[in-house]
């Protein structure tokens, strides 16, 4: 094993919870984060909260980013937080992006979603936010 000092890349899971079939934004984000030096695990469409939490656990990610456009965010996103925390992933940053009304953003943050990125957010902004807030010193 090499003992070279290098900063390990931040690992991000990008998931599409629920039933909406629009993953263009999620794919653009995955690609953009790759170019920002993140290791991105993309899980594809139509994921249940359980599938997302299971993947986050096995992949030991620093960040879970969920893209949702269906309007089912109140039903799905807090459940992912609950499942992740229930499995001991206390320090995993969980964020969301998509079309979410301001009133719901407040509720989601109260439920443990760290940040909600609305339309027009640049990939640079998201990358900066992840770098600043993801757990870095591990173990």
């Amino acid at each position: 094993m090499s003992n070279e000092s290098r900063t390990a890349p931040i690992r991000v899971l990008i998931a599409k919870p629920g039933l909406d079939g629009h993953d263009r934004g999620a794919k653009v984000l995955a690609r953009g984060l790759r170019d920002e030096g993140f290791e991105v695990i993309y899980t594809g469409l139509r994921q249940t909260p359980e599938m997302i939490a299971d993947a986050a656990e096995q992949e030991d990610v620093d960040v879970v980013g969920m893209s949702i456009l269906s309007g089912a965010h109140m039903a799905l996103l807090p459940r992912v937080v609950e499942l992740c925390r229930g499995r001991g992933m206390d320090d995993v940053l969980i964020a969301a992006g998509g079309i979410i009304p301001d009133a719901d953003v407040v509720k989601l943050k109260a439920a443990g979603i760290a940040e909600v990125f609305g339309p027009g957010t640049s990939i640079g902004q998201i990358a900066t936010y992840f770098r600043e807030h993801a757990r870095r010193a591990r173990d």
């Binding site: 290098r6 390990a8 995955a30 690609r31 790759r34 920002e36 594809g44 599938m51 993947a55």
Partner: protein
């Protein structure tokens, strides 16, 4: 150490996931546990699956997992994707095809970025495999894109290497080029519902069966599979199982051990030499063509 092993053996996913991260990151605090971890591996069947991008490797692995699960086996998967040499970033999408097994507690899947050559994943794969093995997963699949030297190297760690091809990939000369096909213990011509599958299999068979000269190994079996429908997957699983005993012969084990030691030597000498005074000067001198790389290496060798 015993604590770590007990945690792994408990079947809990989180300690294993955490350990894999430390292995990937080359965490120096792991050093003392490496010997025990390696000894604790129980001899899981290590299956490499490799092939060109888009050949259907992940879908095929997904179909194999379903069969192994029916047989009551706990399956570990390491899916390796390349890191960008420019940014260090990576996109790993192999989970997309395997999400149906995500909630199965007896399937553990981890995506790993290759993280460049020296000190990258190729140098630590054996340790990641040992961790999955110690956690009771058997078989363990390593899936890589068969595109470069490091992927061939990862494939060489496997006891049984399945090379996945697709119909009409190229002319017959592609099949006789050195590289990927030479490491194949089994060849799966996937997407066999497409036209030309039989012809591709026939061509591969003809090319590989005429091997002579210094080639001593038997030509690999060539199987037709359609991963999306499951056609041919049972036969592939049988061929993998059949190859297991063959792979366990002492000559094969020794060859894999040689590769592992060779890799560890390269990583070790590099990491020791790159910390030494004189490294920067050597880099300058070689960049300026004043010194050749071989002499530089001899001077730096610990």
């Amino acid at each position: 150490m015993t604590e770590l092993l007990a945690e792994l053996a408990s079947g809990e996913r989180r300690p294993l996931a955490r350990l894999l991260t430390r292995i990937e990151n080359g965490d120096p605090s792991l050093r003392p546990v490496i010997p025990g971890l390696f000894r604790a591996s129980k001899g899981a069947h290590l299956v490499g699956v490799t092939g060109p991008p888009g050949s259907g490797k992940s879908t095929l692995v997904n179909a194999l997992i379903a069969g192994w699960r029916r047989a009551g086996k706990r399956v570990g998967i390491l899916a390796v994707d390349p890191s960008s040499p420019y940014t260090g970033g990576a996109i790993m999408g192999d989970r997309i095809r395997m999400m149906e097994h995500a909630a199965d507690r007896d399937v553990f899947m981890r995506s790993m970025a290759s993280r460049g050559e020296l000190g990258g994943l190729a140098g630590t794969t054996w340790l990641a495999v040992a961790a999955l093995d110690a956690a009771g997963y058997d078989p363990i699949v390593i899936e890589t894109v068969g595109a470069g030297q490091s992927e061939v190297e990862i494939a060489r760690l496997a006891e049984t290497t399945v090379v996945v091809e697709v119909p009409e990939m190229g002319d017959e000369v592609q099949a006789i080029k050195a590289g990927l096909l030479e490491v194949a213990d089994i060849i799966a011509v996937n997407k066999a519902d497409r036209p030309g599958a039989d012809r591709t299999a026939r061509q591969l068979r003809a090319m590989l069966s005429t091997a002579g000269g210094r080639v001593t190994r038997k030509p690999p079996p060539i199987l037709l599979t359609t991963a999306t429908s499951g056609e041919g997957v049972v036969a592939l699983a049988e061929a993998i199982e059949k190859h297991r005993s063959q792979a366990r012969e002492p000559a094969g084990a020794r060859e894999r051990a040689r590769n592992q030691i060779r890799r560890a030597l390269a990583d070790l000498s590099h990491s020791r030499a790159s910390g030494k005074p004189g490294w920067d000067e050597a880099v300058e001198a070689v960049a300026g063509h004043e010194l050749d790389p071989l002499t530089a290496a001899e001077q730096l060798l610990p």
